[in-house]
Amino acid sequence: MNIRKLPVKNLERKPVRTAMLIILTALLSLAVFGGTLVERSLRSGLTSLETRLGADIIVVPASAKSQYDLESILLEGVPGHFYMKKDYLDKVGKIEGIEKISAQYYLATVTSGCCSMPLQLIGFDPQTDFTVKPWIRQNYSGELGEFEIVIGGNINSAVGKTLKFYNQSCTVVGTLARTGTELDNAVFATAQTIKALIKSSEALGLNGQTREDPEQIISTIQIKVQEGYDIDDVMNDINIHITRVQAVRTRSMISGVADSLAGTAYIIRVLIAAVWVLALVILFAAFAAMVNERKREFAVLRVIGTSRSRLARIILAESALVSLLGGVFGILLGTAVVFPFSNLIESKLGLPFLLPGTGDILLLAALTLAVSVLVGAAAASYAAVKLSRVDTGLILREGN
């Protein structure tokens, strides 16, 4: 018999009471951990989306605007392709207020035998590009050669391997950090490579939409507006003066996302707060009820010579064990909910979802544990202090 084992024995001998307290603390830590994780994932999803959209304006063929869900292709990389004549690059470039301009080339691969998997291929012009390269540079320092590709974070391949598109083997030279958007399913290459692939696809008769010479076509024009010019003015200029193309503000595409993200994050924060308040109240009440129910037991400990501080330590040890277990439980539960379903959350909410790194997650887990232990300790101390204010003699009497 060791007095240090008393807290554990107390918990073991009252499994129902113990389980209730553990479930309560698990709920609290689930709310903190899971909620914070989802909120942060959504937030970093948006941030990465914003930084990905280095362009202020994107110009697409007018036909594309009606034919495709532009947002899906530009933001989410849903496989698709559309082309316009290369001349438009010069025409658009003459509009006043443009600082940077660069063309991109889209090619969707198909599921048939020619290709490893259906993907959105995005080609950029290494000379003028200002949106893709800075991003790629974070993960790949060299220049992309012909048939060299950099792949999105979701694509199941690795540096050094090859992927086959339209019977052309392309070597993976870099993988990109996850963005939480469908861009994670895109493949990036130079315009040169994409043009070559477009030719191959036409040779195979798989990409019949265009009979144009790949050298003479582009898919989109990315524009950065000069300081001092209004982005809307530049966009309107393009739309008024150049026919058969459509200029779109990228911000307008993500503002919807940002708005609903802000809304969702707000809801999550309110939910966390609500669960918190609820769990706090319940936890304090539960510990108060627990101490109250066990008043006589604690009085007996005092009778045989347990000091107030010793008794407080016993009660605290019990609460620490309970909240540690509950905390771990809640974190595991949160992990089990958030991680496997992050794709589901992403598609259900329609929001980019980018989980924090392992280090941050571990930190969050540790913080969650600390919080649930602290809250448990606070609740138990509160009850213990209230108890210690009363003479043991009075408590002994109450039981009879």
Binding site: N2, N10, V303, G305, S307, R308, R310, T392, G393, N400
Partner: protein, 224 residues
């Protein structure tokens, strides 16, 4: 060892009344001396438990003081008083007092385990289990014991530290004759071994075990 209550009183507020109070114990003095059993009898509600708890250091008196060999109990810090009670005062409270999460044996050893961390007490615990006649229940939990067995458990627990003072609050209440005789015999033996014993009871039969007998009436103690 001498435990001395010097003109102690305990004042309580009346539940119903505004600003009116009453004395559960009124200006009472009582000295417990080594080797003898002091009996206190009296009707229920006369203040016996209040007096005993004050003498145990568990209930601070409204006036007066309680000293153990000259040390004022209520002048000590909680820690000092706790250690002092652990080592010198064996209290048998009224009612069921076993700790539910411990076996009978561990309950008995608990006072020792509070401040010591070894198994030196195993023999004495075993001896006490036999003496109070619940050796076969060593591994049983309080919820599995009868009222009489629980009371005997509380007595064994009060005796484990071989305290100089034993304060027993109705230790024979709701016990049958055989159990009553066993319990009182144990207290008698503790007194014969040198303890100062206070035996509080509403049971007049206990008087034959007491060396000195008092009667408590409305908070006032008088020789019986």
């Amino acid at each position: 060892m001498i435990l001395n209550a010097e003109i102690i009183s305990k004042k309580y507020m009346r539940k119903s009344g505004e600003a009116n109070f009453f004395y559960a114990v009124r200006e009472t003095s009582l000295a417990l001396t080594a080797g003898s059993i002091t009996g206190v009898i009296g009707r229920s509600g006369s203040g016996k438990s209040t007096l005993l708890n004050m003498m145990a250091g568990l209930l601070s008196p409204s006036a007066g003081k309680v000293t153990l060999d000259g040390t004022d109990l209520y002048a000590l810090s909680d820690k000092e008083l706790s250690v002092l009670r652990n080592q010198n005062i064996g209290v048998i409270p009224q009612g069921q007092t076993g700790l539910d999460s411990l076996t009978a044996l561990d309950n008995i050893k608990l006072p020792y385990a509070l401040y010591h961390n070894d198994r030196q007490i195993d023999d004495r615990a075993d001896e006490l289990l036999h003496a109070v006649g619940i050796a076969h229940l060593a591994d049983a939990y309080p919820s599995e014991l009868s009222g009489g067995e629980l009371r005997r458990l509380a007595i064994a627990r009060a005796l484990i530290m071989q305290p100089g003072i034993i304060l027993a609050d109705e230790p024979t209440g709701d016990l049958d004759d055989e159990n009553t005789a066993t319990v009182l015999g144990l207290l008698r033996k503790a007194a014969d071994d040198g303890a100062a014993v206070l035996l509080v009871t509403h049971d007049a039969d206990a008087r034959q075990y007491a060396d000195v007998l008092y009667r408590m009436d409305a908070g006032v103690l008088a020789e019986a």
